[in-house]
């Protein structure tokens, strides 16, 4: 086995995420490739949550259904993930939680051992120990990491935790040695050099790299992490981060900030985005740039607040009254999350349009190994100009972009207006000019198209079956196709969903069959393709229960479609 999936399952508040954080780091530092993903309920304590940690000797980046090692932390855990438990699943835990005894179940009295080490609260550290032992991690590394992780705690607590880890570690070792569980994973020095980053961190770092120095937002899962991250970097990076009283305040603040010379963003989820729609339209009219991070979760309304979906695509595309250009990114690859979050600021500023970055809970809460993020060549262009006396904010230009002044920089006055306006920015009822300025605004779409992100084609270029995905499904579909190893198949991924890449038609026409995989119920990307190309794709694989696709599921559904075809 060269790729194992460890799942921790228990109640909110039991510390699953602590185990995940520690373990993932330790494993990476030991030379394993790791990936982790979380699913959890909308509650602070109780319920049933789980985290998957994949460990492999080559890069892995997506959620799989299968569980190789399950650590059930309460009595509900077994049932919660029962559908993912196979006959080979190794189950390790307290006697009452492991669900019957078999060759593959191993009783480990975590709490008892923790108590022995000093406090039952250390049970999580015992768990870390067990898994470290099983996975052949050097115990010194565990020790060292625990020291760092708990460095703000009392020495006694630190030592007790090390003791707890040690107890677990020995059990883990023993399982490999005495019980013959051997994962046969190779370590790779390269993994150590990788960065360990989750989607939230990638968005946030991309934003900082893009010059973001203002964020106003209202907390909303799964988008809040970006606000938290930037809030904590306020002093370091000179960022103004303000928790607004509502999403409406948030977007209007950010527009004010961008107007006055900041690079501003908001982070929100569907319901909050809904409240920002009037502000989005304002951005279109003012031609004040803005970056919106739209972290999707299942709707309608409050829906499933802590779950994942790709259900807001067409909403994001057409949100806002009236007509104005926009750009929408939907990264799926870890590097792209960073790159496009950065690019969003550049493009929004350059073309003076709203740039939307669409992610989702799955993407944001997953941790990836990224080989590197090269910022050495980055430089942010300042697109605003120093104004002269006769400055006109909305000068009609060939490409539609009017040089953007900011107040207080230069002699000119910067007048922006939500009403239809003349070149100076003052209210107008000149209806001929109305047509002219609408055209001017819409012309910017051409500039946006010039900077369009290429799609990524994975697999055989002479495909017969083309699988299409966008956003967070990138790794899942890619791995599914890798597994299927079908020479007739290829995968086309869109990291920018609007404007749609002009090669779309060409790609689809080349295929005998095109299947779109998306995490929603109505096949929104397929609709978008049809709206843009007129082509009705042949099939859609949809999922909308709040969970991301598992690799096996994609494989299964693709095979089913292809098989049907054969008949």
């Amino acid at each position: 086995m060269k790729d194992i999936s460890i799942v921790l399952c228990g109640e909110a508040g039991q510390g699953i995420q602590t185990v995940e954080n520690i373990l993932v780091s330790i494993l990476k530092l030991s030379g394993y490739f790791v990936f982790s993903a979380r699913e959890f309920m909308s509650r602070i304590r109780g319920g049933s949550n789980s985290t998957e940690i994949r460990v492999s000797d080559s890069p892995v980046n997506s959620f799989v259904e299968k569980i190789d090692v399950l650590i059930p932390l309460d009595s509900k855990a077994f049932d919660h993930v029962r559908w993912r438990i196979g006959k080979d699943t190794i189950i390790i835990g307290e006697k009452e939680f492991i669900g019957g005894k078999s060759k593959k179940t191993f009783e480990v009295p975590f709490i008892e051992l923790a108590k022995e080490a000093g406090n039952k609260l250390y049970a999580n550290t015992v768990t870390v120990g067990v898994l470290s032992g099983m996975l052949d991690v050097d115990f010194d590394r565990v020790k060292y990491f625990i020291r760092g992780y708990f460095k703000k705690k009392d020495r006694k607590i630190i030592e007790d935790n090390i003791e707890a880890a040690k107890k677990g570690y020995e059990i883990g070792k023993d399982m490999v040695e005495a019980k013959g569980i051997d994962f046969d994973l190779k370590k790779d020095e390269k993994a150590k050099e990788h960065l360990l980053l989750n989607g939230t961190e990638l968005v946030s770092l991309g934003a900082i790299a893009g010059g973001c120095n203002f964020i106003s937002s209202y907390p909303m899962s799964p988008s809040t992490g970006v606000l938290t991250f930037l809030s904590q970097q306020q002093e370091e990076f000179g960022i103004v981060a303000e928790q607004a009283e509502s999403e409406i305040c948030a977007i209007n603040m950010s527009l004010g900030a961008f107007y006055a010379g900041a690079r501003a963003m908001v982070t929100t989820s569907g319901g909050g985005f809904a409240l920002m729609v009037e502000g989005l339209s304002l951005a279109g009219m003012l031609e004040t740039p803005i970056v919106i991070h739209l972290a999707q979760r299942p709707g309608p309304a409050t829906g499933l607040p802590t779950r994942s979906e790709q259900g807001d695509l067409l909403f994001a595309l057409f949100a806002g009254h009236g007509e104005f250009p926009r750009v929408i990114f939907a990264p799926g690859k870890a590097e792209d999350i960073f790159n496009l979050s950065r690019k969003a600021f550049d493009l929004a500023d350059k073309v003076q349009v709203p740039a939307i970055i669409m992610t989702d809970q799955y993407l944001l809460d997953s941790s990836f190994l990224v080989s590197s993020i090269d910022i050495s060549k980055l430089k942010n262009k300042k697109y605003f100009v120093k104004t002269g006396k006769d400055y006109k904010r909305y000068k009609v230009t060939k490409d539609g972009v009017s040089p953007r002044g900011i107040p207080g920089y230069g002699e000119g006055l910067v007048v922006v207006d939500s009403d239809e306006h003349d070149e100076e920015g003052h209210i107008t009822e000149d209806l001929d000019f109305r047509t002219e300025i609408v055209d001017k605004r819409l012309r910017k779409m051409d500039l946006i198209k010039k900077e369009i992100e290429p799609t990524e084609l994975v697999g055989n270029k002479n495909y017969k079956t083309l699988v299409i995905g966008w956003g967070s499904t990138y790794y899942g579909i890619k791995e599914a196709l890798d597994r299927m190893d079908n020479k007739n198949m290829a995968f086309l991924h869109y990291k920018q969903v609007y404007p749609l890449h002009p090669d779309t038609r060409k790609h689809i026409e080349k295929a005998d069959k095109t299947i779109v995989v998306e995490n929603n119920a109505t096949g929104q990307f397929a609709k978008l393709i049809k709206m843009e190309t007129g082509i009705q794709v042949d099939g859609s694989i949809l999922k909308y229960n709040g969970l991301p696709f598992g690799v096996e599921e994609i494989v299964g559904k693709l095979k089913a479609i292809l098989k049907k075809e054969d008949k």
């Binding site: 990076f237 303000e242 004010g256 900030a257 010379g261 207080g408 006055l413 939500s418």
Partner: protein, 287 residues
């Protein structure tokens, strides 16, 4: 600075002849000129409504945003560039109706902005519906039986929230209002000027006569630092007091407390991303 500095030249002003907004416009220009504020360092932020059109008749930087939403951008503009003088302007419907929540929270933030509410006790631009400040019993096409809601008392609310400067003025009282506005602009922190004015077209109840008969000025030796007293004054509704009701000089402006300015006082637009620091931050994600 000459008040003419703010003149736009020959422009078509969209207000009705006789509207109180004309006086407000003139007073504001005079106040600004006496304070020597250059158009290029001034940002007028407004929403939508008759009063909210004022910034278009003015030489200044203007952010004319959405109906009800001028306080958030005004707060942000000041937070991003503290050297700007920021005034948020709009009507009673705009600020206390659609924008009521921002009113509450802007006060809590206490940015150094001046908040001028053109309060004509009616929705002017949409042709005469009741506004939050319309009096009970006031009849309009949408309230044919008369308003049944209690009028919104912006001063009492502002005082209850600890606004750092709270005042009420009346458009026809040229000198008094100019002085109030000057004080408001000079005040370091959020300053409310609830500026009563007649809407000659739609509000036939609260006309010039009514304002004259139903307002009076706070006594010269009124002490605006006593919050409970200020509240009592704000509650008066037989006759509406005019003047500065409440001042709290202890409160620090929002933007001055922001961590982004701890080490660096420059406006944000002058700064660059510190990629060196970013490298360190990114590297830290290796372990």
């Amino acid at each position: 600075m000459d008040a003419k500095t703010y003149d736009m030249g020959k422009i078509d002003i969209a207000w009705c002849p006789g509207c109180g907004n004309f006086s407000i416009l003139k007073i504001l220009k005079d106040a600004l000129s006496e304070l020597d504020i250059a158009p290029s360092e001034l940002v007028m932020v407004c929403g939508i409504g008759q009063g909210a059109k004022a910034p278009h008749y003015f030489k200044a930087n203007v952010f004319n945003g959405l109906h009800g939403r001028s306080l958030p951008p005004a707060t942000a503009i000041k937070a991003v560039n503290q050297s700007l003088v920021v005034i948020a302007e709009g009507g009673d419907g705009d600020m206390y109706g659609e924008g009521g929540n921002h009113f509450l929270h802007a006060i809590r933030r206490n940015p150094d902005i001046t908040h001028i509410v053109h309060n004509n006790m009616i929705y002017g631009l949409t042709k005469g519906q009741a506004s939050p400040t319309s009096l009970e019993g006031f009849k309009t096409p949408v309230q044919p039986g008369g308003v049944i809601l209690e009028p919104f008392n912006p001063l009492a609310v502002a005082i209850s929230l600890g606004a750092s400067f709270v005042s009420r003025a009346y458009s026809d009282d040229f000198e008094e209002t100019k002085e109030i506005i000057k004080k408001a602009i000079k005040h370091k922190g959020y300053a409310l000027v609830d500026l009563l004015h007649p809407c000659v077209t739609y509000n036939k109840l609260n006309d010039r006569k009514w304002f004259k008969e139903n307002t009076y000025y706070l006594d010269d030796n009124y002490d605006p630092t006593d919050r409970n007293e200020a509240f009592k004054k704000a509650m008066e509704d037989e006759k509406l007091p005019l003047g500065v009701f409440y001042i709290n000089k202890e409160k620090k402006p929002f933007e001055e407390q922001l961590p982004a300015y701890k080490k660096n006082k420059k406006p944000l637009y002058e700064r660059e991303v510190d990629f060196e620091k970013m490298k360190v931050l990114i590297e830290s994600k290796k372990s």
